[in-house]
Symmetry: C2
């Protein structure tokens, strides 16, 4: 029971997916929850540097932070836990984090940040927009956590897991996948406010992805749990070679 597990998310500390995940992880060790005090979806990897952050212990070992998921990881590791957890699990996110959306997601960014700090991590999301059933995802998270504690993760790499919103017996299995590709369309709405002044609203909730076998999207659409290993090194290493031939 000496093992410390840190749980966070971007839906906020009071979200159901987080609560169910934390409860389930209790089977593995001592669980700490350090999560945003409200929804911080699409917070991406943003870090609060321009103001202080407040932390409230809302119940034993459950902390609400008035910042982003990436703030939570830093505050947990360097402030609240005063120790490195052995594992970080971010989720269970209320909604998918597939394809390019991984870079907008606060939930995924929290696992990314933990990886920077050398802590094994994964993000887990429920691929649905309504009628959320967290049970299968919670069970899978525990299984994955146990497995990672045994075999570890590749260097500088964390997992982005998406679970179809289905009953256990409707899910076919899991697939190791690649980051999929969205179909980028017109995603900004232009409107006029009651005072006649123009405003814009970023939309794009359409969630159309290219049908490419082997991708996260394709797996989930076909009732598989998708597991995508993501790197924190963004370098395109093969392009380094190519660019060395440039004559600027």
């Amino acid at each position: 029971m000496g093992m410390k597990i840190l749980i966070t998310n971007d839906d906020g500390v009071s979200s159901e997916g987080l609560r169910i995940l934390a409860q389930k992880m209790g089977a593995l060790g001592e669980v700490y929850v350090v999560a945003p005090d409200r929804e911080r979806s699409a917070a991406a990897h943003s870090l609060t540097l321009h103001r202080p952050l407040r932390v409230e212990e809302v119940s034993p070992k459950v902390y609400a932070v008035d910042g982003t998921p990436v703030d939570c990881i830093n505050l947990a590791v360097f402030g609240i836990l005063k120790a490195r957890p052995q594992l970080v699990v971010s989720g269970i996110n209320k909604g998918p984090n597939l394809g390019e959306d991984v870079v907008y997601s606060g939930t995924v960014s929290a696992a990314f940040e933990a990886t920077f700090l050398g802590i094994p991590a994964f993000a887990i999301s429920l691929a649905s927009r309504s009628n959320f059933k967290y049970g299968v995802a919670a069970n899978f998270a525990l299984k994955m956590a146990r497995y990672i504690m045994q075999v570890g993760l590749p260097e500088g790499t964390f997992l982005n897991i998406n679970v179809p919103n289905l009953e256990e017996d409707e899910i076919r299995s899991y697939k190791i996948t690649r980051q999929g590709k969205r179909v980028f369309g017109e995603s900004v709405v232009e409107e006029v406010d009651p005072r006649g002044k123009k405003y814009y609203w970023i939309g794009g909730d359409e969630q159309r992805f290219q049908e490419i076998e082997g991708t996260d999207f394709y797996a989930v659409a076909n009732h598989y749990i998708s597991i995508t290993p993501l790197r924190v090194d963004l370098t395109n290493h093969s392009a380094v070679k190519e660019l060395e031939g440039w004559k600027l």
Copy 2:
């Protein structure tokens, strides 16, 4: 002159680095500036979805947006320009964007977002904390823009450029580099406010990097301009193979 170039940053629309960059790019085509109305450093890839966005044309073809750099790219392409620019240049950032810091940076994320939309892009930063001399970086940006218009960029890839804050004759040349690695230390300060209540402040402005040859940090420290090709696909493709051997 038919070519449209979109300029943005995360230091805000009134920053000197942006102004100098926009002016310089005028040599290449029609320049549009769409940038945050204030500093949005460490905004990372965050996207404003929960509220409308306002745009103000502060001078001809210069637009201030009350959002993040990634918001600016979307509003520019789908709202303001109503056309795809041929190139996006983000910067000149007041400060370095080296190593892991690329994922916190709004300036880098803007180029990342443009790449999602299929538009060639680069981010350019001045690697200094004070006494900013933008001339060399602006000249290099123009040179790079011309080169990219000729040869293109590798698929799904943009450039992260960091320029030492030196005079032209003090800069040795440029290097094609990899993303460097920070030394992660204790980066959260715990303090007590005038009312006796604890608060935390994320610091970590130390900027210590591991001395690894071939990295962005190493190049800049040795008076080279660093050019790192970054991918928008975060998948660790070699790990996909490895994980396929897992028995979950």
